[in-house]
Subunit: 250 residues, 6 copies
Amino acid sequence: MNTSTNPCINTPRHDGRTVDALRTVRITRHYTMHAEGSVLVEFGNTRVLCTASVEEKVPPHKRGSGEGWVTAEYGMLPRATHRRSDREAARGKQSGRTQEIQRLIGRSLRAVFDLKRLGERTLQIDCDVIQADGGTRTAAITGAWVAAHDAVTRLLQDGKLAASPITGAVAAVSVGIVGGRPVLDLDYAEDAACDTDMNVVMTGTGHFIELQGTAEGAAFSRSELDALLALAEQGIGQLLSLQQQALQQP
Amino acid sequence: MNTSTNPCINTPRHDGRTVDALRTVRITRHYTMHAEGSVLVEFGNTRVLCTASVEEKVPPHKRGSGEGWVTAEYGMLPRATHRRSDREAARGKQSGRTQEIQRLIGRSLRAVFDLKRLGERTLQIDCDVIQADGGTRTAAITGAWVAAHDAVTRLLQDGKLAASPITGAVAAVSVGIVGGRPVLDLDYAEDAACDTDMNVVMTGTGHFIELQGTAEGAAFSRSELDALLALAEQGIGQLLSLQQQALQQP
Amino acid sequence: MNTSTNPCINTPRHDGRTVDALRTVRITRHYTMHAEGSVLVEFGNTRVLCTASVEEKVPPHKRGSGEGWVTAEYGMLPRATHRRSDREAARGKQSGRTQEIQRLIGRSLRAVFDLKRLGERTLQIDCDVIQADGGTRTAAITGAWVAAHDAVTRLLQDGKLAASPITGAVAAVSVGIVGGRPVLDLDYAEDAACDTDMNVVMTGTGHFIELQGTAEGAAFSRSELDALLALAEQGIGQLLSLQQQALQQP
Amino acid sequence: MNTSTNPCINTPRHDGRTVDALRTVRITRHYTMHAEGSVLVEFGNTRVLCTASVEEKVPPHKRGSGEGWVTAEYGMLPRATHRRSDREAARGKQSGRTQEIQRLIGRSLRAVFDLKRLGERTLQIDCDVIQADGGTRTAAITGAWVAAHDAVTRLLQDGKLAASPITGAVAAVSVGIVGGRPVLDLDYAEDAACDTDMNVVMTGTGHFIELQGTAEGAAFSRSELDALLALAEQGIGQLLSLQQQALQQP
Amino acid sequence: MNTSTNPCINTPRHDGRTVDALRTVRITRHYTMHAEGSVLVEFGNTRVLCTASVEEKVPPHKRGSGEGWVTAEYGMLPRATHRRSDREAARGKQSGRTQEIQRLIGRSLRAVFDLKRLGERTLQIDCDVIQADGGTRTAAITGAWVAAHDAVTRLLQDGKLAASPITGAVAAVSVGIVGGRPVLDLDYAEDAACDTDMNVVMTGTGHFIELQGTAEGAAFSRSELDALLALAEQGIGQLLSLQQQALQQP
Amino acid sequence: MNTSTNPCINTPRHDGRTVDALRTVRITRHYTMHAEGSVLVEFGNTRVLCTASVEEKVPPHKRGSGEGWVTAEYGMLPRATHRRSDREAARGKQSGRTQEIQRLIGRSLRAVFDLKRLGERTLQIDCDVIQADGGTRTAAITGAWVAAHDAVTRLLQDGKLAASPITGAVAAVSVGIVGGRPVLDLDYAEDAACDTDMNVVMTGTGHFIELQGTAEGAAFSRSELDALLALAEQGIGQLLSLQQQALQQP
């Protein structure tokens, strides 16, 4: 399929967006009171609470290394979704999907952290989905970076760090091929209907940290891939700006 | 100790409240969009999201009985608390405390439900603590009843129920002996310092459903118990009114 | 309901007891040979083996504190009950009920222990139900205190303790509203039929340690509560005497 | 080593027994009230409660086969032993030792059961060690058979079975090489000191069902094995008589 | 970094390969005797046993759908790796990495399966790593497709299927940026040293099924991505030929 | 049954073997490249990979003792068997059978190890069944000893040990009564049909380490036992020779 000749390229999506439009994105800092960083991030109806907690210890593989650690956990409230899903704590284990997502968030954050400069402490990120409507993992990464930034600011203010260990920004968005055309930032309805779904994580300097594309239906061609990457690059650019705007609030 | 002669009875509490004052209570309905009932309940800084989900099936012990079931699960986001607590899903099991609380919520709701009239379906309550500052279980019960009410209203509107299975209201509050005097609705600081902590669950007609008193420090006398019960009765009266006000919103 | 005017107040219960009578209680010390304290406690047909084991270490939260710890575990043999229940070790987890009960036993014992005087060691209580006929948790608390006393005596005799860390006695009983009237020490048949079930734990000086009342059927009024508390106070008085008599045996 | 020329063959054992003497064995039927069969078996200080429960269903692999099933579970109270061992229900899994033993008990009982004649029901054996002093698994098998017999008698009396599915008796004993000489029915002290430990399960007609010998220290020779088997055969003969005597009680 | 100007593009890799060379690949069919399809696939020193088992049932979400299911599990023998890793069965859970990989294998295979044509049966793929030296997941996918093909051939020969449900071929390879230049099919030493690691899964018609790129060190640019994709496309082309050659053996 | 008069004693077995013949046994050393000892052992179609890994630490019960530890784990690839069995890692626990077998392997190896001479390190044996056709545990023990020997040789060569901690050889075989006659080294078909199955582990000096006999069908007599032991002794003699031959290869 050649996306550039798709006749429906200008038809609005089911929610009225153009193919290259993000949903309304909101980043609310200081959302809860205990965490060193606490951000509610909303991509349309998707709402994820991202907290960053500072712990003055490191996991075994970092002990005595002089380096810190950044890690993440992900969860979904049972009725964040259209149909209630089982509570993972009650079932006694996290699903493969949950583990995949939390490993992705952790790697994405670590890509912009200088662990040596963090010192022997852990930044524990928790991303909990309050309401899900597609794109929870990309919203989580985008919000988690802001929460991590707030936690680092606190460490700098408290004199526990001399210089920020954050080496750059990171944000993420999903793209996919829905009804034959590449679109940006899929909501749940689009995600359920799409042939290909790709999550892209990029730095503030336009480089890739993670790229995870999956053909749920038909396999995708190289030209489709190029179209998806272009959409992602553009969307992430906007998300990076929104992060900076949020950080300029008090 | 004779509470009636306590000289400090009129000294305000650490947050300025009188001994018989609730914290500011807010009940926000329709807080998330998927659940049949979804309520954010706030007792001061304590914030609990209570959702009620309707499932058209019952657990094994009710199959074929013609009766429904009402049950609850409880969780705490890892950084809802002052210090981060481990994620129960990651540890692979729910703590004894979590199980105690969710069993309490389930029993409290069932006490005002006619399971026969509910029909063979389950009302699954989820209470998830977004931010904790003492009294999460009593806030949860108070909010869960409103969420359950909304879910039942939906069933009535959809014609799935002919008459409401709800036989009355239920609300809950904590009371305790702090610094030698009985007080209503303890926040975390008071809870950590108190000698005795009691959770009281009552119906709209002033009867008891649950009474759970624990002497954390010194054991408590019968006269102290009487004073605590009087405070609870008064506080629950106010909570029952707030529930009704919330239900009158559209 | 006004219990004082109940016409059937003098009708004997299904096993011939008056409303305020305990079942036959037996406390057999030195029941097994390895534990520092080992007591078989019987409340009628309910038989619970309570052992107290001294361990010269403390859990992490007490390490280096100079304080000791008292904790309890509870179990039920699979065929202690009318119908066989699953073995918790085989299922791979303890039920919520089991955890609730063992937490209650632990708190009750700690209420009469001076942990500083115990020194950095743990008193591990195990309560295993050999045969169940209602009231297993109250029998367990009553017997566990005697087992704990024997273990402490052993520590004193061995010169490991200079003074007893036990600050008082503790005993427990259940009360409930059965067929409309408050009764003491429910057996299984009464427990299954009762509207309200309350477990009361008191010290030797007549103060409350725990109060756990649950309306299984109709909610209970304040006057019913008062009647139940009076019964409990009286029954616990007798249990405290029986504990002392048992301790006077060699 | 040739055991027949061992000079110390007539020296009494540490508890005064001769090499070929069982400890005092007691079999108490109807020990608890709920189970269809309930036997306390004592081999000296080893005390095991064996219950046999009838369940009117079979595990999946027997469904629709017209055959029944006999299975066993084994447990040890935490302080049945000299030093307290962790509660398996709290740890969340049964040890390899526990599983080995319960599989052995189940196989031993099934060897004397005609599962077709049992019909599609399960005989669930529970063997719980109240006090351990060596030989818990052999005591358990010996007691379990009596409990199973009582449960079958109940089924015959209730008219649920036309003929007994029990095809013979089964009993078990341990033998071992202690201090260079073969001895019968080891207690804990001997078990801890022995070079070889063997558990032998035999039928009423003198055939072997199970033979499990383990060299804990030095490997054992064929002549030592022969001496151990002779001791076991003699000891099991006595246990089979004691089972029959116990069954003749009302 | 612009890979096209990298001066070391022609320097051989640590094992002598050029940047665009696969390791020696071997595909051995009928490796074990019980499975319907059984393939040992070797990418250099990486050896994975892939079996395909036919089960005449489907998981719950497919019951009554008329469709079949294809799923995969992945494991690593404890000493497949340089240092022994814990056995997942002994630890009691599969790692996040394991779950990620087995989900990837399952999705990759399903992408070339017409589940309707498979009928209500499951093709269960097991990929067990006998020896690991990098690229175990891509070797597993490449081998699993051959094993699945053999299992389908068996179903066709047995007359259980009228037409093959396999709609195309699938193979996978890893690419990465090592020492600043893009290379094909990383072994363990390269994988441990690389900045970016990407696993690519493609169909026989040159379309993408999965694309998973991760910047372990520096983030990667669009031009680096393009270079990696070109290498992958070329390598997968060779693997697809090797699969066809293997299938032509008897 | 008197085996010596069995008329079919000279009839070949279903695979043509005489009653006293082993299957073809192959011992392949250096089968995988990472482990200090790595042996593929084949008893006919049964193939088990045995690796021995040296770890420079000991489990808690040996810390500070100056002694080392030898332990074993056992696993079966899901499709090693005729019908696929569940993956234990996915189910989240090892079966009772698995635990029994790995405990047996560990004890058998420790019987010929001087743990003091091993020093404070662990020899971790992993036995993974690639293909099963009866006798996996006896093949595992026989192969594990060779793998352990290779690992010890490596320690001696590296100067980490001054003298070998291995005090002798150990090998194992199964024997059983099939169709009324005792046979050596049962394959799966014979194992499934046999009345009695016995696993015998012996040292190089002809002494017993383990003897595990189970009557699956009819109980076995003393004379049958004697016949089985004679077969085992003879078969183990051959296995011990094959181990030595394998060790003479480079």
